[in-house]
């Protein structure tokens, strides 16, 4: 029986449990009015169903999660000499055993030990699978039996069901925390392992980045260099270019939209700008790489400039277009929140509309606008696809936006896509970069929220 079939079976049992609990409650009431029961029959049904389905499904989930690693452990323990192997060789061995059992190509000759291990693996898997099916079905049926035994006229089925639902809701609300903890832990663990191989100072202040470690020690550049300064510089350059595009356009559109435009114009233009935020980033990346970058290169050539085909300029400009709506819609909101009385006051003193905007509304909305710009910056720093497709791969330390630079996100993608071994400094470096990215974006968000909260004027 496949595990998905097992799950479906449990679900059918659960439905059956619901039906059984409900009809039993009706039977308990007999010919009298249903109000002789403490809870409605549907609650009785749900109670039985929960007892039948929930423990069994949890068991299946736990089993599926822990089964592979457990079996692996037992099999490896049984192979003589396997414990002495290096971690990398061990993982290769395990992969081979797995491939052998699933009938795939194996990277080494099949010697008797490997064949025996494969058989061992298969046998364990069959046993474990059978055990899982028997155990979960037994638990489901036992839960059904137990719950049914509890049912009486005065049984508080509703209270029990509500309690379980509440627990489920509390668990669901902690998922957000678990995710954050998961992100932080996974990033920090791998980063610490990275810093065992490369020092923190070299990573944060080194000027040389070439993560490709050669296979043999005597090859050129075999050591690999992990100085991330060129990457940070590239990230800030592209982000800066993006902000140069996004801030003026976004802010001016927001001003026009909230102060000048009539409701009809607004109804058309605002959604149009928001479409810019809804376009998938991979589309912007394609546009940047195939339309904008060649255009810049040709224009540059015509003007006698050397423009790289992966110039920071193209990636930055397109990214700027992408974040226009982040700047504009947030600024629009804060400017709309400035009370009309301030505008009226300025007009009464004889100010023109633009003077009112520049001298009254913008200063009043400044904290919100700064917050919006910071949020947009954090968006730009974390943006991946545009730069992966349109920016360069080589880490250049340059201040010339016409050259190719690389960014943190590009490096994470290039280091982790394709073949990877989980212990090399190269792979671990990606997690260190991820941690830097996480800390910077989180920091920017915190600052943005703080600025908005602390400096916003309260008008009432």
């Amino acid at each position: 029986m496949d595990s998905s079939v097992l799950i479906v079976t449990i679900l059918i049992l659960t439905l059956f449990g619901y039906w059984m609990g409900r009809s039993r409650a009706r039977m308990l009431a007999g010919t009298e009015h249903l109000s002789v029961l403490h809870s409605l029959p549907s609650y009785h049904g749900s109670y039985v169903a929960l007892w039948c389905g929930l423990p069994a499904l949890l068991l299946v989930a736990a089993w599926l999660i822990f089964e592979p690693s457990l079996i692996e452990h037992i099999v490896v323990e049984a192979i003589p000499g396997a414990r002495a192997l290096e971690p990398a060789q061990l993982s290769l061995l395990i992969a081979d055993i797995r491939n052998l059992t699933s009938g795939n190509i194996v990277s080494r000759e099949i010697d008797p030990t490997l064949a025996a291990a494969g058989e061992h693996y298969n046998a364990l898997q069959t046993i474990s699978h059978a055990a899982m099916i028997v155990l979960t079905l037994a638990i489901a049926v036992y839960g059904l039996y137990l719950a049914r035994k509890n049912q009486t006229r005065g049984f508080r089925a509703r209270n029990r069901v509500e309690k379980i639902v509440r627990i489920v809701m509390v668990v669901a609300s902690t998922i957000a925390i678990l995710t954050t903890v998961g992100i932080i832990l996974s990033l920090i663990f791998e980063t610490l392992r990275f810093f065992e191989k490369v020092t923190v100072t070299e990573f944060l202040f080194g000027l040389n980045w070439s993560p490709q470690t050669a296979l043999r020690a005597e090859q050129v550049g075999s050591s690999g260099a992990f100085g991330a300064v060129p990457i940070f510089a590239g990230t800030f350059m592209i982000t800066g270019l993006a902000m140069i595009v996004a801030v003026p356009i976004g802010l001016l559109s927001a001003i026009y939209m909230s102060e000048y435009a009539g409701p009809k114009f607004r109804a058309v233009a605002k959604p149009m700008l928001e479409v810019l935020a809804g376009i998938p980033t991979v589309v912007y990346g394609f546009f940047a790489a195939l339309t904008v970058a060649p255009f810049f290169r040709q224009t540059g050539e015509a003007a006698g400039l050397m423009v790289s085909s992966e110039s920071a300029l193209a990636a930055g400009m397109v990214m700027g277009v992408m974040i226009i709506p982040f700047v504009s819609s947030l600024s629009d909101d804060v400017m709309n929140a400035v009370p009309q009385s301030l505008r009226d006051g300025a007009y009464a003193l004889g100010a023109t509309q633009s003077e009112t905007i520049k001298q009254v509304i913008l200063p009043a909305a400044l904290p919100g606008i700064v917050g919006a710009v910071l949020l947009a910056t954090s968006r730009a720093i974390g943006e991946t696809m545009i730069v992966v497709m349109a920016a360069g791969l080589a880490a250049n330390l340059t201040a010339n936006p016409l050259e190719a630079v690389t960014t943190v996100t590009v490096q994470i993608v290039t280091l982790l896509v394709g073949d990877q071994e989980f212990d090399s400094a190269k792979t671990l470096a990606a997690f260190a970069l991820g941690l830097v990215l996480f800390v910077i974006t989180l920091g920017l968000n915190m600052i943005a929220l703080r600025v908005v909260r602390k400096y916003s004027e309260k008008y009432d």
């Binding site: 509500e162 809701m169 791998e190 990346g285 546009f287 954090s378 982790l416 968000n445």
Partner: protein, 433 residues
Amino acid sequence: MTDMDMSNASEKQTDFSASLKKRYAAERRFRAYGLTAIVIAVSILGILLGTISFQGTPAFFQTYVQVDVYFDEAVIDPSGARNEQTLRTANYQALAKRGLYQLFPEVSERREKRTLGKLLSSGAYRPLSTMVLDNPEIIGTTQSVWLVTSDDIDTFNKGQIDRNTVEADRRVKDNEIAWVDVLDAAGRIDMRFNTAFFATGDSREPELAGIWGAVVGSFLTLIVTLSVSFPLGVSAAVYLEEFAPKNRWTDLIEVNINNLAAVPSIVFGLLGLAVFLSFFGMPRSAPLVGGLVLALMTLPTIIIATRAALKAVPPSIREAALGVGASDLQVVTHHVLPLAMPGILTGTIIGMAQALGETAPLLMIGMVAFIVDVPSGVTDPSTVLPVQIYIWADSPERAFVAKTSAAIMVLLGFLITMNAIAVMLRKRFERRW
């Protein structure tokens, strides 16, 4: 005294009108800046969508060439046993090429013949095998069949390769152009709607590559995302909005949710790689893992939207329900949730649209592999539409540019549909209390 006052006042008056002119000019300029900004943003949007639909439209059509194929029994099934395996694996490519050679009897030199054979796509013979399998009777007869041309001939026929450039700079050589012209004059070249694009998986050959594999992959991934993030998100939001006590713990949860909404998507990919793949040993490239990662990513969106929708339900409804004896949970499940459902669904659809367009985290968990087969389950290796776009955008063949744009058009089509449904839901069912 009064005179002096008068003259002073009139002087000021003139001063004032001069500066007023300046100030009005500044006003007009400022207003123009604002309008220009909006025009720039909207026209960039127009250029973006315009170039993509301009580049992508040709990919919906495919050049076919009509060839008279003789289904030679000696090639297909020499033993005459009509075994299905033999019929399936017979050398149909040779038959297709032989049919093409017959149209040009003057081509006899081997190298030239090979070039002539390359007019056809390397997968052009596939319909022949289906024809034979459907009806083995046609063996021994000659049938007129429309076959797919290679990507170079296709691009040439669509006018994207200029025949007036120097031959060395051109992917289609002079003799090929001559053959195409002959075929065209004989009415043997035709452009047809490219159904294969919507029905097949990926391929190294642009003319054979399709998006169906990626669409199915996207669908499976979104199913996983929806079935994880919707129940979790809604129950978390209901708890936080309706039941949670105000304390440090719930404050922490709220701060967390807001921060998660701003974490770069690629970091979620790193989480998926470290936790789901390395720690739990889940399969690489599988929609299951992709769906889980995207679910964690869209969770904040759904929670925030659901909370806003719950907040919009007026307290009087809760009080009335409590007043007639409903329990806390009954108030929520019988009254508040149904009333908030349009808002919740709108938020969910928007979250799903974000998930559908997301690429970066899926690259991290290996959904970027070259996969020809259409996935049939959530643990099969597969790719998704945006990743397919990324893979094609990286391919050097010129014909892939059009394919990429076409795939983008399909993706945007899905996104527009989803957002339109969300807007419709909001317009139709949203109630102001």
